[in-house]
């Protein structure tokens, strides 16, 4: 059992020798073995023990970084030097990274221990973690159900207690949705807040890297470390990073916006009731609750799937079997090398999205789809800009339903996509959003509540989430 409830407690126990880092890492490695059937890790790094030895010494010497001994799992779409990087795809099954992703490097520089790489939907495309060449991940809360996706492995390992925190990526909800389905915290930062250098591109104007954790404080601390401008990612933004953890106490009553579009038909009644209970509690604690409009919400999925598949079809053109990745053996010519390598090694959902993306970008259809969707994207940005003139925070459910059964939605891609209705808006507008586990339904399945704030205002999200964690839950 773990003797600490967040990293601050862990580091003080490590410093006063109540906890041994080696034993702690060994405990996690043992738990990973016990929970192997969850299939949440693609790779486990046994050298974590050696990392623990080195970092223990640093802690003793007083030279350790600010994440010393934090045990972290990394979604297998991020590069770790000399480790496999597969994106849960056959096309990268033998790929080994030659450099560190910036987010990973920053964790390592602060003496975090990387314990392994987590399973995910292939190239982060999916909402159930069933589109993986490594097979599906089971939800640790109910093993007959999906953990959500695409960062299903990263959510499952934190929920199952196999590490302290993990990194995932969120293009349309891929951090917040699995966090909701597994009952943990998960933050999608502002677009550009965390460098994408070393992240395998899915939809470049949407992809964001963020943490999963069992408490708000650890997510805040990890964000402090991984956020910031990076010369290797020209879309990363050069803005100061507040001390998220230091400033985590909320010192004023915020205005909270509740958009009616997120509580309309299609929302599970138990989730609705649970979120409304939280809203009532906030109201009685003196927070001002404001009804707001996000009138284009019903168009988010359509807009999202045009833009992201278009970007994906272009990004995934690089997997051609020429310079890296799996190549068809003895291709008869160059075109056969391209087409056979791709067709034999991409999974069904990845192909489907490449097809849709290629279509919407093809001659004669660009204006009807891609350009139109970019215009609608502007409307989303305008809606949120307007809303954040009125309120500090927007509060919604994270997902319309709790974790569904394995295989339940695999034959209906559109139904799977529609589950992202509450999360895609934040990616369209580039704003941050966090999942807060607010309770369980009558079957014991986790219910997630989402908070969103204006761009680059993660600080307020952490403060509000921390308040809810401390006072309401």
């Amino acid at each position: 059992m773990l003797t600490y409830s967040n990293y601050s407690e862990k580091i003080s126990q490590l410093k006063n020798k109540k906890l041994s880092l080696q034993e702690n890492v060994q405990y996690f490695l043992n738990q990973i073995k016990t929970k192997e059937h969850l299939n949440a890790f693609n790779f486990v790094f046994d050298d974590a023990i050696e990392q623990a030895n080195t970092i223990s010494k640093k802690i003793e010497d007083g030279t350790a970084g600010k994440l010393a001994g934090m045990v972290v799992a990394i979604k297998d779409v991020l590069a770790i030097k000399d480790k496999p990087l597969t994106c849960s795809s056959k096309i990268l099954k033998d790929f080994v990274s030659i450099y560190n992703a910036t987010a990973v490097k920053k964790l390592i520089d602060e003496d975090a221990i990387i314990i392994g790489k987590t399973n995910c939907d292939e190239f982060a495309m999916g909402s159930s973690n069933e589109n993986s060449a490594f097979g599906a991940v089971l939800n640790p809360v109910d093993e007959e159900r999906v953990p959500g996706g695409s960062s299903g492995g990263s959510a499952a390992v934190v929920a199952a207690g196999l590490c302290d925190v993990s990194l995932g990526t969120d293009t349309g909800g891929s951090i917040r949705q699995p966090a909701a389905l597994c009952g943990i915290y998960g933050l999608k930062p502002t677009y550009g807040r965390v460098s994408r250098y070393g992240l395998t591109a899915f939809a470049s104007s949407f992809d964001s890297i963020g943490p999963f954790s069992n408490n708000v404080e650890d997510a805040a601390l990890v964000m402090e470390v991984i956020a910031g401008y990076d010369k290797n990612d020209s879309t990363s933004v050069n803005k100061g990073i507040p001390g998220y953890l230091e400033n985590i106490a909320l010192d004023k009553k915020l205005k909270i916006g509740v958009p009616k579009e997120f509580f309309a038909e299609g929302l599970d009644p138990e989730i609705k009731e649970s979120i409304e209970t939280q809203i009532e509690k906030l109201k009685s604690d003196g927070f001002e609750i404001v009804n707001i409009d996000l009138p284009h919400t019903q168009y988010s999925i359509a807009t999202y799937y045009i833009l992201t598949t278009a970007e994906a079809s272009s990004n995934l053109a690089r997997y051609d079997g020429a310079r890296y990745g799996t190549r068809k053996e003895n291709p008869k010519d160059l075109i056969d090398m391209y087409t056979s390598s791709r067709s034999e090694n991409f999974g069904d959902e990845v192909k489907r999205r490449i097809m849709l993306g290629t279509y919407v970008l093809s001659a004669g259809y660009y204006d009807a789809y891609y350009k139109k969707a970019q215009k609608v994207r502007r409307l989303f940005k305008n809606d949120f800009d307007k809303a954040f003139e009125l309120v500090d925070i927007i509060l919604t459910p994270t997902v319309p339903a709790t974790a569904f059964k394995l295989a339940e939605k695999m034959n209906d891609p559109l139904a799977m996509y529609l589950g992202d209705i509450y999360t895609t808006s934040a990616n369209l507008a580039g704003i941050p959003g966090i999942n807060i586990p607010v309770g369980k339904n009558s079957s014991g399945l986790p219910i997630g509540m989402q908070l969103m704030s204006a761009q680059f205002n993660e600080e307020t999200l952490f403060q509000m989430s921390y308040y809810i964690q401390k006072k309401l839950l």
């Binding site: 550009g192 045009i306 192909k351 350009k371």
Partner: protein, 99 residues
């Protein structure tokens, strides 16, 4: 809008994918479901709306054109499926016919 099986074959060719009959059948159905759903966007009046290509609208990023340390040839070739000396090796690029 909707796509026919021939459209799907054409898109697959553009995307450098080879689909079998079963895949052509299922992707035609899937794409049509999705395209029908996407047609929702036609309800919106968008003539006066500027497209948004990027959520954080920053200006172009320039830098000095300086020589910096970069990936070595050996590292770059580390994941190559096939190589010869310092190069990636691929099947012959130029063929005799125009196909």
């Amino acid at each position: 809008m909707s796509v026919s099986k021939d459209d799907v074959k054409h898109i697959a060719k553009l995307a450098r994918l080879k689909l079998n009959d079963e895949e052509i059948e299922s992707y035609t159905g899937n794409l049509n479901d999705i395209l029908k759903y996407i047609d929702k966007l036609n309800e919106l009046e968008l003539d006066d709306v500027e497209p948004l290509s990027h959520p954080v609208e920053n200006t172009n990023v320039f830098r000095e054109d300086e020589l910096k340390e970069s990936t070595t040839t050996d590292e770059a070739l580390k994941n190559a499926p096939d190589r010869t000396d310092q190069y990636f090796r691929v099947p012959k690029v130029i063929s005799q016919s125009n196909n």
